[in-house]
Symmetry: C3
Subunit: 356 residues, 3 copies
């Protein structure tokens, strides 16, 4: 057709299922220097109050040069770069595993992300397939900031392409304790429990303990759009009401990571001393959220982890559940048939550090 004469090849329309193969390495575009401006916006989006990432002085009292960037801001920046190459044609973001945080990220550091394709499996419908990638964010010195596996369901460009050989990676279903990266500068001698907001330490939590975090946060369209653009995440569904009006939900979807950050910020009330995220063991975005939804969260302590050689700090493996328009006082999760309740939006499994 004459009028549609643009050079289609110059437009990046993202990879389709058949473009991925195990062993493929994707160097993602747009390195990003993180600044205190990003951290200020992060605080404005979620209201996070963990003293460690709010105060340079508090971080210094723990042996750090200054307050590192919030862990999930680091996650979003690392993740955002992968979207254009991995999930632009995704139907669903299926899960996370083996997420490990490495060196802290400070304002002024520059992050780049590289992903390794570690598995592919075509779905029986022949129209989509699952792609497994391990993504690694590094700072300007090449040090690992964050590494995690995610798997996504991606559309095929051409349903007639034959299915590739199935490769499914073996993934840990828990956190490998020895791989937990405890920042070597960490020193909790001076930890101030008045400034952190709570006197409860690692020893005060027990396996199976559940905490409903009380507060709720209503999401506005402008907030999640600004957040998701800040992360340079380019997934179209978050920004374009003109096309989404015709889509499955009739409206823009909220980036799932926005919910993780909201839930983490809400979890402050009851887990104030879980100052640092050490690992992402797993996670599922159970259902989509939309502007106007109010997010609540609850946590369950899954495991208490002793860290070898450290008697001042321990780790808690925590299930963090977010629900919409349900205050979580009854710890909603699944019904008797094992299906998630309809207001559950996130079922997340992560590990946090806490003073002993």
């Amino acid at each position: 057709m004459g009028v549609k004469n643009y050079t289609e090849s110059k437009i990046r329309e993202g990879n389709f299922f058949e473009d991925f193969y195990p062993g493929m390495v994707l160097v993602h575009a747009t390195p990003r220097t993180i600044t205190s401006g990003d951290q200020a916006l992060y605080t404005a989006f979620y209201g996070s109050r963990f003293a460690f990432s709010s105060s340079d002085e508090f971080a210094r009292s723990l042996g750090f040069a200054r307050a590192p960037i919030d862990d999930f801001l680091a996650f979003h920046i690392v993740f955002g770069k992968t979207v254009a190459d991995i999930s632009l044609n995704a139907v669903a973001n299926l899960g996370y595993a083996e997420g490990i945080f490495g060196v802290p990220l400070y304002p002024g550091d520059t992050v780049s992300t590289v992903s390794d394709v570690i598995g592919v499996k075509e779905n029986s419908n022949g129209r989509t397939g699952v792609v497994y990638v391990r993504s690694t964010g590094r700072n300007q010195n090449g040090e690992m900031v964050l590494q995690y596996v995610r798997w996504v369901m991606v559309r095929k460009r051409d349903v007639n392409t034959p299915a590739p050989e199935v490769v499914i990676p073996e993934l840990s279903t828990g956190v490998v304790v020895t791989s937990l990266s405890i920042p070597c500068e960490l020193n909790l001698t001076e930890y101030d429990y008045a400034l952190s907001g709570s006197a409860y330490r690692w020893g005060d939590y027990s396996v199976g303990e559940r905490i409903a975090h009380v507060d709720g946060m209503t999401i506005e369209e402008a907030e999640h759009q600004m957040a998701t653009r800040l992360y340079q995440n380019t997934a179209k569904v978050h920004f374009n009401q003109h096309t989404e009006a015709e889509g499955r939900f009739g409206r823009r979807l909220i980036y799932g990571g926005h919910i993780i950050s909201l839930a983490r910020a809400l979890s402050f009330n009851g887990m104030e001393n879980g100052f640092k995220v050490a690992a992402i063991n797993g996670g599922t975005h159970v259902a989509p959220t939309f502007a106007g939804d109010t997010i609540y969260a609850w946590s369950e302590v899954l495991e208490k982890i002793e860290l070898s050689g450290r008697d001042d700090v321990g780790a808690l493996r925590v299930r963090l559940v977010a629900a919409k328009n349900n205050n979580c006082e009854s710890f909603p999760l699944k019904n008797s048939e094992g299906r998630y309740d309809e207001d559950i939006v996130l079922d997340f499994d992560y590990t946090i550090l806490m003073p002993k």
Copy 2:
């Protein structure tokens, strides 16, 4: 009830009236390092145009190391920390007095807040009481950044608790001139009236003069939520539409400090050289505001204050009134019976510095 098994003690539900007593000292959580990112957001929220907090070069020309953080941004950060301990169970924020700004706050400084309870008085209904606190924000060197008194009406946890002895502090109803903290580095020899936006100086204003500030600003839900979270203010009424829909107004309330900042920014047009806030003498949040309201403001010069030993700078005590959906050309305030007009939302009394 079996299902509600969370450790209630780990959740901070805030203090109730009977928890407060004169002499009580509250060390508030979450120290906060202020950055140029916070200042950028502040400009984005209110559009402030005072050259002194907009330009490092302008501030240097006045003897400062660089542009200090906007005074009311400092106020909001200091104030925000107090909410979780003082006003989480507040019915109303009743008033301010004896507010004094100390050393300027610069990007990179870290602020902490401590409050002293200086009065309590149970209300005759036996369900609520008034708590008076003096809150002091300090920087990382322990220098006073801001100190002010506020009193709030707080719910009792248990209406059967006996009333405490009444203690009502004696509070100044005006600004104590000698306590005005004039930054010692201040030098107005190079003050540039083209860059500041107006040639009107201290001598050009007269007591009783009133200025309607012409411009209006409509508030969006996303804006006040982001601002209030940036200040790490945790009052639930600002963020949770799911519960507020069932509340008194059916919607989220806007943090009163958001209105102070909007009014201050609007006051630029007509008081461009009131470059620095020196004191908060009093103030009342007369009525709530909601997203969609358009805020206007007018000012009245209450007093002209000579500063001892300074012939280059004087102070103006100013009444700053904000109204919603009323352009303030007729200086709305109170009716003949002394009741505030229904569109008045703020009646504020503060002191600003101006070149002579």
Copy 3:
């Protein structure tokens, strides 16, 4: 009238047509120190992904000290200062010409703007006139950051004022190649095409080539208000729903520069290596936009420009067209009578630098 006793002279109501004369120099108020906070907000507003302004490391690899502020953020800051003096009483912003970017702007730099009136022409209706100004933004060292001409239609204060002598400046309709300011530090030897997001260079584009940029971005009220306030642009129509409800459109108008920035960010997909804006040759805000509109963009290569003495970098003169609620796949522009299609909002002519 007794009640309206404010000192009208203290309120800046902006200049009217008869206040302008050729040769008039306007020193605009409120110098502004740009920070990494401003850049973070800019990214949050538009999602820009050009590596050059996203990564200090990428910028260093090109010979710069760090990542400069995004070019259009510089434009908006320089422009914003002019509004209070030039276009507060404007009916329409008619066009741009002869825009040249000078030295890059870095976080920490302070920008001031001065405008020279270079033409006036009263309209035949006797109620309005066109004012031509050349505005120059400079950094704290007096170096030119950006210079451009714009012309606006401004209301007369008094229709009985006689028309001034007509002065219409001669303006270039194209970019003067020799005036293109190529940063002297620029060195493209290390340019990384994986990190920039595309392998297409200057030589891969041809005159007449058109690219539809695929993505669309829906604008929220809170976003454009925050952006426009960040630029300290004081045009009332962007912020005051209370008065705009009674106005021509019944709603707030979006600052035209917001559309330029959105279109530029959207143009990344297909022109990833157009890393730096060198000139604004012309531009028209064809129609207003409102919150809820979804902006799309397409580009046409108008001219390929060799830069003398440089075999590593070339310039492309590009037409950048933005449309609302039209995905631009059919390159919408004008109908057979030469009138713009009704969904076109911006027709912009600018020059970008690209590695050869």
